[in-house]
């Protein structure tokens, strides 16, 4: 029988027609892995493959990797694998690290379109489940509110002033600044167009109505969503993952009375106050634009504003702000209570609460616009 000997890519091959003996030219250790490249085709037509572990002085887990690759190939090409010349120490090492449950490592190929369709389906299912859970949460809170006169003492009122201060009072500087700038920008942009038609004085109408009806409630809501909604989600989410909420429940406290209601009440009351302040500041921004770009006096601007603005404009903005505040705090608390796992989950739900809040704000604003327009308000 003809025997062929060859040294190639880390292995010594001693082969004849039906069998092959393979030994190592280098130490089978991880840092030598690049030196080893097995020629599979040599094994494909053999009935016996012998892996000779003689002369191995240095070895690590990479040896076991090589052995498991040989075992995979034994199944693939249907040959008998024998391992010979393992001393006691080597045998012990292999036994400790040997894969107890054999797994054939082969990548499962899924057609790319099928994979994407499955992903889309899973995402839609998750969104619908989340929506269902949110509606359930919404219902629980509405019931809690309606029953509030009968369960007054159950709510943690002592937290309300602190939450109101942090999320209402301390939000004043940033919201005032932003809405002032919005008023200023609207004024400047409007002035450019109105000047062309000689309708300078209507800048007061433009700024007054847009600020009170839309821009002030919208901008304040978005800022509060980013500032307070995310904060609620993070606080309650962290409490959830560190089992503080479980502890509250086992101590007999209702998590909605303890955590959710104070936050929802605080933001719902704070929002219209913030919007009122910002309405004034936004109009002042428009005034600055009017005085600096057009030949309009202070008294002229104020008189025109008084004539243009109706109570309906102001109240529509305030009512919207109450609804926005309710939704923002509700979403923040809901997301916090749905956290699970660890730090990564808290990060995800915090981002999610801002995104969902902003979406709901814009959606409700659009609904209001159509509704009020239909009612002629």
């Amino acid at each position: 029988m003809k025997t062929k000997t060859e040294i190639k890519n880390g292995y010594n091959y001693l082969e004849n027609e039906n069998s092959i003996i393979i030994s190592f030219n280098y130490s089978p250790i991880i840092k030598n892995s690049k030196l080893f490249r097995l020629e599979e085709n040599r094994l494909s037509n053999k009935s016996i493959v012998i892996l000779d572990l003689k002369d191995i002085i240095e070895y690590d887990s990479y040896l076991i990797v090589i052995i498991s690759i040989f075992r995979n190939l034994a199944v693939k090409y249907n040959f008998e694998l024998q391992i010979i010349n393992e001393n006691n120490e080597l045998s012990n090492f292999i036994n400790i690290l040997d894969i107890k449950e054999y797994k054939n490592i082969q990548e499962k190929k899924v057609f790319w379109l099928k994979r994407h369709i499955i992903e889309v389906g899973e995402n839609i299912t998750n969104i619908l489940l989340d929506l269902r859970n949110f509606i359930e949460f919404f219902g629980i809170i509405i019931i809690k509110f309606l029953a509030l006169p009968f369960r007054f003492k159950k709510v943690r009122w002592s937290d309300l002033p602190d939450i109101f201060t942090k999320n209402g009072v301390m939000a004043v500087p940033i919201t005032v600044l932003i809405v002032f700038l919005i008023g200023l920008i609207s004024g400047y942009q409007g002035a450019l167009q109105l000047k062309q038609f000689g309708a300078d004085i209507f800048i007061a109408d433009l700024v007054g109505i847009s600020i009170t009806r839309e821009l002030s409630p919208l901008m304040v809501a978005i800022l509060v969503a980013g500032r307070s909604g995310s904060s609620f989600a993070a606080q309650i989410g962290t409490m959830k993952v560190s089992e503080e909420i479980d502890a509250l429940t086992t101590l007999g406290f209702d998590k909605y009375d303890y955590l959710v209601l104070p936050r929802v009440l605080a933001i719902t009351f704070a929002m219209p106050i913030l919007v009122l302040i910002c309405n004034l500041v936004g109009v002042i921004g428009g005034l600055v634009a009017a005085i600096t770009t057009l030949e309009i006096t202070l008294s002229g601007y104020i008189n025109q504003l008084q004539a243009a603005l109706s109570l309906g404009d102001i109240f529509s903005g305030l009512i919207k702000s109450i609804i926005f505040g309710f939704l923002i705090s509700l979403v923040g608390c809901y997301k916090g209570l749905s956290a699970s796992g660890g730090a990564e989950s808290v990060g995800k739900i915090t981002t999610g609460s801002v995104v969902i809040s902003v979406f709901l704000i814009i959606f409700v604003d659009a609904l209001f616009t159509f509704l009020l327009s239909a009612l002629g308000i």
């Binding site: 892995s33 887990s61 690759i69 090492f93 894969i99 449950e101 699970s340 660890g342 730090a343």
Partner: protein
């Protein structure tokens, strides 16, 4: 005779005026299971942080394989860090990655293995700790005991010469803790890995420790050194005797 794999010389650790440890001198032999024990607040975890290079000492030196490890340059430190593995008290697994990804991160960074070789190695390591098939699980989807095992698999992925364990039995039930002891012994005997464990779990100490040092916060240092059996019978040192015989002060 086994050589020293870790040597600590005149180690002192202080945070400002507050001295935590001083006059710490001991060696750990290659291939032994070595325990660092003591009551709460005695500085066990502080000492461990010195041994694994997370902090530098106020004075003194730590040598690993006769190479200076404490206060050394980052290049030397990185070479030594590849020779050690650490199991942290709360596992230290990366929560945003699956068990496989936790291990693949290390293999991608430090080896030239092919994808198939990496997959096989990960399977080998997970299987060796009894977690075969759990590759795609996230840490928050497995139990506390399984997290510890997964963390051991990750710590072992590059076949370290020394494995450090920080309170491995904390949060585990007695049966799981006993299984972990068996696994540690298997790793030590089968792979020749030196094991250094910080613990105050008496059962584990008596089960698997070969040599122990005991720290005490009153002296801010080592008050006893020996085998568990020797320390259990050390009647001349009441602190040591009480600790090893579980007697209240």
């Amino acid at each position: 005779m086994a050589e020293n794999i870790i040597k600590v010389e005149n180690l002192k650790v202080a945070y400002g005026d507050r001295i935590i440890l001083e006059n710490i001198n001991f060696s750990i032999l290659k291939g032994e299971i070595f325990f660092i024990v003591g009551g709460s607040g005695c500085g066990k975890s502080t000492l461990l942080r010195q041994l694994i290079g997370l902090e530098s000492p106020t004075s003194g030196n730590v040598y690993i394989k006769n190479t200076l490890f404490s206060n050394t340059d980052s290049k030397t430190k990185n070479i030594i860090l590849k020779k050690i593995g650490v199991l942290f008290q709360s596992s230290g697994l990366f929560a945003s990655m699956t068990l496989e990804e936790n291990m693949r991160l290390i293999l991608d960074t430090y080896t030239d293995l092919t994808e198939i070789e990496k997959s096989n190695l990960i399977n080998i390591k997970l299987s060796s700790v009894g977690l075969a098939g759990y590759n795609n699980f996230y840490p928050n989807e497995i139990s506390g005991g399984m997290k510890k095992r997964a963390a051991i698999a990750r710590a072992m992925v590059l076949d370290p010469e020394i494995l450090f364990f920080d309170e491995p039995a904390s949060g585990l039930d007695p049966v799981t803790s006993a299984s972990l002891d068996i696994l540690i012994k298997e790793i030590n005997k089968g792979l020749g890995t030196t094991i250094v464990i910080v613990s105050h779990d008496l059962q584990s100490i008596l089960n698997i420790a070969e040599r122990v040092i005991m720290l005490d916060k009153s002296v801010k240092g080592i008050i006893a050194e020996g085998t568990p059996k020797e320390l259990k019978n050390r009647t001349e040192q009441p602190l040591v005797y009480n600790f090893f015989n579980r007697i209240a002060n």
